[in-house]
């Protein structure tokens, strides 16, 4: 499981101060890494600290797929949907995963165990289909392997 903390304004301020000199993108990355998402409150805090408008911060925060608007589950499963994985049955696998989890891409299971995300290429194309569970890569996935992966994450 990825170590993420609950949103806290004080922690956020500390993180912003630590990275302020490295610029907006690095600050947002650090906050997203620490909390797993960028809550609305974070936008205002960053804007004030970096002397930017909220619109500027919002613009960058919403441009990048990695920056989430909502808190993710305890685990994030990124399933690859790009061409190399498609050629090895990624769509069938995606249908199975959404069925088993009962959620769509970009959503979190009600028990907050898993957030399912679409990713386009993990560079594991020679062993497709592939997925990233938190920071651990998994490849040559089939129906059984993905079920086991989901079950492991739910424990």
């Amino acid at each position: 499981m990825t170590r993420r903390s609950e949103w806290s304004e004080d922690d956020a301020k500390r993180i912003i101060a630590a990275h302020a000199r490295e610029g907006l993108f690095v600050v947002l990355t650090a906050l997203n890494d620490a909390f797993g998402y960028l809550p609305k409150d974070a936008i205002g805090l960053v804007a004030r600290a970096l002397n930017l408008s909220r619109a500027e911060v919002h613009g960058v925060a919403t441009f990048y797929h990695d920056f989430r608007e909502n808190a993710p589950g305890r685990h994030v499963l990124k399933l690859c949907g790009a061409e190399a994985c498609q050629s090895m049955g990624a769509e069938t696998l995606a249908a199975q995963v959404t069925r088993e989890l009962g959620i769509g891409f970009g959503e979190t299971t009600p028990d907050e165990a898993i957030t399912l995300e679409r990713v386009y290429c993990l560079g594991l194309c020679a062993c497709a289909p592939a997925a990233l569970l938190d920071e651990t890569p998994h490849a040559r996935l089939d129906s059984n392997a993905i079920s086991a992966l989901i079950a492991g994450a739910r424990e």
Binding site: G23, L24, F25, V26, L28, T29, N32, G59, V60, F63, Y64, H65, D66, F67, K78, A82, E83, A84, C85, Q86, S87, M88, V119, Y120, C121, L122, G123, L124, C125, A126, C127, A128, A130, L132, E135, T136, P137, H138, A139, R140
Partner: protein, 517 residues
């Protein structure tokens, strides 16, 4: 006697169990009180054999693969530490035909050395290019790279020597060397493999570029989907700094050079060089209009060389071994070697570095051995999500920038993705438009809106609504995208769409004559 066993630490090898295999070998060795050192190398790129286990014997390295943790007791029982016979034995690694057929210049060390050992790097000809560059000076380095015929390996194929010369001649005290490691194309993994398997080579190549253009600061922009590559590069940079290969007065010279790793945040378009520069500056990754060229006004408005990982790596080889050696290989105006990435539904997928000129058919049928599913190869997508789908009829096309362009395709970053005869090409065409819509930075209209309209038009064709008229509309829309977009995302999305339509009209419910111009 200490025995050395080699298991890859490459992300793709880990994804199929390399860490568990290495742990099982370690445990079995300690249980049997054997003195075994497990060296975690990069990958050889023979991915269908991963997790690959190699053992150093008197006769060189002997390979076993693919190995599951459960195979480990059997390996010990058969005496694999002495190269013993086993069901999964593939013989001396250097004699594996797939590897033997290659000409490995850029990937010469990958899979052989410990990626984070500078001693290993030096023992295998590492830093030779930098040493020579330090004696040559800026002008001669640029000349050497220009003479090698090296072209940008990111996809555009722009002559590297000309780019470096432009940045070298640009005025100003502050200049930057930026490495594009935002390898977003599906079916490509060479940058990742090199950063994880031979990171000092990228550091060396970027340092040489710094000397060439007079820059003291380098940035590697690596996609966030590559956590292993980012960690390996950061560790290698720290070690290079400790060994004075980076920092002030590098290698005892008068030059300073430092490298910083910047992680992306999941945007495909940031692989476009100007969007990448915007992102490094902390902004939305929106494409800039050119001119000005980055070589004149790039990062923070300063003269900047932006090259792909493989370009810097090849440049280091050119400096080490000489431009003539490099340009002696190749085909037409494509000189040297290309690390071709065989991926998707192929029997023997992996990294195959070879001089330009090999035909697509040789790569797919002979090297990759056809599909993994055992069915017929129907199409090959060359060059990532913006590359054309090639039917078997075009398999005689030589691997060369110009030859692929002549067939309305591109070699791009060197990826080839195989599809068997179950593929629905209309669906692939729709996906190309969908991907463009999803990843468009939104700056130019043809890309932002054209991609969405493209999805709708393809849907109408597939549903049988005015098929011929909508096919004509799709062609016109693709022309608009091709000529009206600011960058390759909108500009090249027509390649997969039009190639699918032209070569596989039956999948759109169209007769072949209906689409022929």
């Amino acid at each position: 006697m200490k025995r050395r066993v080699f298991v890859s630490r490459d992300a793709c090898a880990i994804a199929v169990g390399a860490n568990r295999v290495a742990a099982a070998i370690g445990e079995a060795a300690s249980r049997a009180a054997l003195d075994v050192e497990i060296v975690r190398t990069g990958s050889r790129g023979l991915y269908w054999l991963e997790p690959l286990v190699e053992v150093a014997t008197r006769a060189g390295r002997v390979a076993y693969g693919p190995i599951a943790p459960g195979d480990v007791p059997g390996l010990f029982a058969c005496g694999f530490l002495d190269g013993g016979r086993h069901l999964r034995a593939v013989g001396p690694t250097d004699s594996i035909p797939w590897l033997k057929r290659q000409t490995r210049l850029t990937f010469a060390r990958c899979g052989i050395t410990d990626p984070l050992s500078l001693d290993d790097y030096r023992a295998h000809a590492g830093t030779k290019g930098l040493s020579r560059a330090l004696t040559l000076g800026s002008e001669e380095i640029v000349k050497e790279v220009a003479r090698s015929g090296l072209r940008g390996r990111g996809g555009a194929g722009f002559p590297t020597g000309i780019k470096w010369n432009t940045a070298a001649e640009a005025g100003g005290d502050i200049k930057y060397v930026v490495c594009n490691a935002d390898e977003g194309d599906s079916g490509t993994f060479a940058d990742r493999m090199l950063m994880e398997g031979d990171p000092f080579l990228l550091i060396e190549g970027m340092t040489i570029a710094g000397l060439a253009i007079g820059a003291t600061k380098g940035v590697i922009y690596c996609r966030s989907e590559y956590p292993h590559a980012i960690a390996t590069m950061k560790a290698a940079i720290a070690r290079a700094g400790d060994a004075n290969l980076l920092g002030a007065r590098i290698a005892g010279s008068q030059y300073n050079f430092d490298i910083e790793v910047v992680s992306g945040a999941g945007s495909y378009v940031c692989g476009e060089e100007t969007a990448l520069l915007e992102s490094v500056e902390g902004k939305r990754g929106q494409v800039r209009a050119k001119p000005p060229l980055p070589a004149h006004a790039g990062l923070f408005g300063k003269p900047t060389v932006v090259n792909n990982v493989l370009t810097f790596a090849a440049a280091a080889w050119v400096l080490a071994e000489g431009a003539d050696e490099y340009r002696a290989l190749g085909y037409g105006r494509s000189r040297g070697t290309m690390p071709i990435q065989l991926a998707g539904n192929l029997k023997y997928p992996g990294l195959f570095e070879t001089p330009f000129g090999v035909t697509l058919g040789e790569l797919i049928d002979d090297v990759a051995g056809g599909t993994a599913s055992g069915r017929a190869v129907r199409a090959v997508q060359a060059g990532g999500p913006l590359g054309a789908y090639f039917p078997r009829a075009l398999f005689d096309t030589p691997y060369d920038y110009e030859a692929f362009t002549a067939k309305d395709g591109l070699i791009g970053h060197g990826g080839l993705v195989g599809f068997d005869d179950t593929v629905d090409m209309a669906r692939q065409a729709r996906f190309a438009m969908e991907f463009c819509a999803l990843e468009s930075c939104g700056k130019c209209t043809p890309c932002r809106l054209g991609s969405v309209r493209g999805m709708e038009v393809i849907d109408r064709i597939v549903q049988g609504e005015n098929r011929a008229a909508n096919a004509t509309l799709l062609k016109e829309l693709c022309e608009t995208l091709k000529f009206g977009s600011l960058c390759a995302l909108g500009g090249f999305t027509p390649y997969p769409v039009m190639s699918a339509l032209n070569h596989f009209p039956e999948d759109f419910g169209l007769a072949r004559e209906a689409v022929e111009v």
